[in-house]
């Protein structure tokens, strides 16, 4: 029995090994950027295929776990994949493919020659590792892998804005890592283990559990550490100061994956480990969720630079999955999982489109843009799909995501957060319409400006990823029935930590 399980489970390492191999191959051909590009795209495609396979396996056979080095569970490092992890890895694969293709032409030759593709894949490796690991210290290590790659990606190119942004990004993320590390030390001193399933098991059984007050105090340290990474209120200031500085491809990758790793970690620890005083912790999460939504969207409304405006929306949208976590029902968590997937697609699409606009007009300033609808009506249509999906108009994916969140909130009687989330949606719609009016609809302020031309035949590497992501947004919008079933299964598993514990520690629990 154990032997056969081991055969399937061993492939759990693939989402980590594939980006690693790709990055190493790219490094071997460091002097041949052309070859690196294709290795990069192939590697990302392979990751996507494996992630879909993994999702299939987890869906049909339940939570999968593998003990690295065959050390039994609480002692060694465990990799675990439940439906939530698998969905997040699929997301990493999808964005990896889209951004790898988009980078072919949009990232300049200089950056590609200095290791853009290996870094991108190291980033993907860190992200997948963070999604798969079942050990908190190991999570810290994957965070660092991911952060190192992201530091270099952010600073690569060395423009003045990038340097200033990188200083803030690096400082606050290192601060977050230090808090995380301190929390790990205290947690180990308290429980004598850092295996997530073992922690959950120990804290759940009343005999061996430390007092709830201490656990809750510790959970606040974790909330601060993951909160900085997820850019929640009031810890988000590094994000709008840095995200708009690197090339758009990098921003799209960061916006889709990095903050989501923070959200993933929050959801993981606050459904599995820190559930003792959920009246207090999860109400706090709801308050933070509301404030994050409001401050983010108000920040966005004031912006006139397209990438900065979109950066503020990243913050605002982080509030929604937190709201699902704060509601703490299977429906709420299912909605949170669906929301994370949907918002990463929509957000990355918007960034990629802003990159195309930047290439056409040489600026991201809404005041200087205009008249894009005339020449590029198909680009306008693509933008509209992603923008309306972000705002949550039916029948887009954002509508179903917010509908189910609101439903879950109403069922639990959390009327305030429901009202806030709906109001924020309206403001989101307002600022999406602002981009639409300023960039696409109004007459171009500089009529004589020569407009670069962009066609699918010539510039497919710019447009294919956008089409791919918009197509996927449409799939999860119109295929909401089967897609939401996956999210519902993830929500069920998250609300039953016993399943996770059993999968890691074995049948006896």
């Amino acid at each position: 029995m154990h032997e056969i399980e081991g055969m399937v489970n061993r492939y759990l390492v693939l989402p980590i090994v594939i980006p690693l191999l790709t990055a190493v191959l790219c490094l071997l051909f460091f002097r041949k950027p052309k070859l690196q590009r294709w290795i990069g795209v192939t590697g990302a495609a392979a990751l996507l295929v494996v992630s879909l396979w993994l999702l299939g396996v987890v869906r049909s056979q339940g939570i999968q776990a593998v003990q690295i080095g065959n050390w039994p569970a609480p002692f060694g490092i465990t990799l675990v994949a439940d439906v939530f992890s698998a969905v997040m890895i699929v997301l990493a694969g999808v964005l990896g493919v889209a951004v790898a293709v988009y980078s072919l032409e949009s990232v300049d030759a200089q950056r590609q020659a200095f290791g853009y593709y290996p870094l991108m894949h190291f980033l993907l490796m860190g992200v997948c590792g963070a999604f798969l690991t079942g050990d908190l210290f190991n999570l810290y290590v994957w965070f660092e892998v991911m952060l190192m790659a992201s530091f270099v990606l952010l600073a690569l190119g060395g423009e003045r804005g990038q340097m200033e942004g990188a200083i803030k990004y690096v400082t606050l993320n290192l601060l977050s890592s230090a808090i995380f590390l301190a929390a790990l030390g205290l947690l180990y001193g308290l429980a004598g283990t850092l295996n997530m399933a073992d922690l959950a098991h120990k804290f759940a059984s009343s005999a061996s559990a430390p007092s709830n007050a201490i656990i809750t105090a510790l959970s606040m340290l974790f909330l601060s550490a993951f909160g900085i990474k997820a850019a929640i209120f009031p810890l988000f200031f590094w994000l709008p100061a840095s995200y708009h500085t690197p090339p758009v491809a990098v921003t799209a990758l960061f916006s889709g994956l990095l903050t989501k790793v923070g959200v993933y970690s929050l959801i993981r620890v606050f459904t599995l480990i820190f559930i003792q005083e959920f009246d207090y912790t999860h109400t706090l999460l709801l308050v933070i969720a509301g404030l994050t939504m409001i401050t983010g969207v108000l920040g966005a409304v004031a912006q006139n630079e397209m990438r900065r405006l979109l950066s503020f929306h990243i913050i605002s949208q982080i509030g929604y999955p937190l709201m699902g976590l704060g509601i703490f029902t299977p429906l709420g968590l299912a909605a949170a999982v669906y929301f994370v997937f949907h918002v990463s697609l929509a957000k990355s699409t918007l960034f990629l489109i802003s990159g195309v606009i930047g290439r056409l007009r040489g600026t991201f300033d809404l005041k200087k843009l205009g008249g894009l609808y005339q020449g590029q009506s198909w680009l306008a249509a693509l933008f509209l799909v992603a923008a309306l999906s972000l705002a949550g108009l039916p029948p887009s994916s954002g509508f179903f995501a917010k509908l189910s969140l609101v439903q879950a909130g109403l069922l639990q009687g959390q009327f305030v957060i429901v009202a806030v989330s709906l109001g924020v949606s309206l403001l989101t719609l307002f600022s999406m319409i602002k981009i639409w009016n300023e960039a696409f609809w109004k007459m171009s302020p500089t009529a004589s400006e020569i407009e670069g031309e962009i066609t699918l035949q010539k510039d497919w590497s710019w447009l294919a990823p956008i089409l791919f992501l918009v197509g996927l947004t449409l799939v999860i919008s119109f295929g909401i029935g089967p897609v939401f079933q996956i999210a519902a299964q993830a929500g069920q598993q998250l609300m039953n930590p016993q399943l996770y514990i059993q999968a890691v520690l074995g049948g006896g629990g």
């Binding site: 210290f137 810290y140 290590v141 660092e144 952060l147 190192m148 530091f151 270099v152 600073a155 060395g158 423009e159 003045r160 804005g161 340097m163 200033e164 942004g165 990188a166 200083i167 803030k168 690096v170 400082t171 290192l174 601060l175 890592s177 230090a178 590390l181 301190a182 790990l184 030390g185 205290l186 180990y188 001193g189 308290l190 709008p240 100061a241 840095s242 708009h244 500085t245 920040g299 004031a302 912006q303 900065r308 950066s311 503020f312």
Partner: protein, 115 residues
């Protein structure tokens, strides 16, 4: 020792935060370094300090004899030290590049990307 170390760690954190809040880029880096030291010491202390033997099973015994130190925190700290070494090296290089391109080490002058 267990009474002294919390004070050491606390002062390290205080110094680190103080340095992080200064305007100079170099002091910021010193602050980050102190911060990681404080966290490492914290892991070391939180896991419990014991005057005991290394956790090695003697040739004559088949399991570990009780007074022994917990090896895991050391392993964790070692990992954390290696990581913070790499990160600090990167931060130094980044600070130097930032200094070259902005021409100042005053963080208050680096506000052009703030929203």
């Amino acid at each position: 020792m267990e009474v002294v170390l919390p004070f050491v760690i606390g002062s390290l954190y205080a110094m680190a935060i103080y340095m992080l809040l200064r305007r100079s880029l170099v002091k910021l880096l010193i602050g980050l370094g102190l911060l990681s030291h404080a966290s490492n010491l914290l892991i070391f202390t939180a896991a419990g300090l014991t005057r005991s033997k290394a956790p090695v099973i003697a040739l004559t015994a088949d399991q570990l004899q009780p007074p022994h130190a917990d090896p895991l925190p050391q392993a964790l700290i070692l990992t954390a030290i290696v990581i913070s070494f790499g990160v600090t090296a990167f931060a130094l290089a980044l600070a130097y590049r930032a200094y070259r391109s902005v021409n100042t080490d005053d963080l208050d002058q680096m506000k052009s990307t703030d929203a």
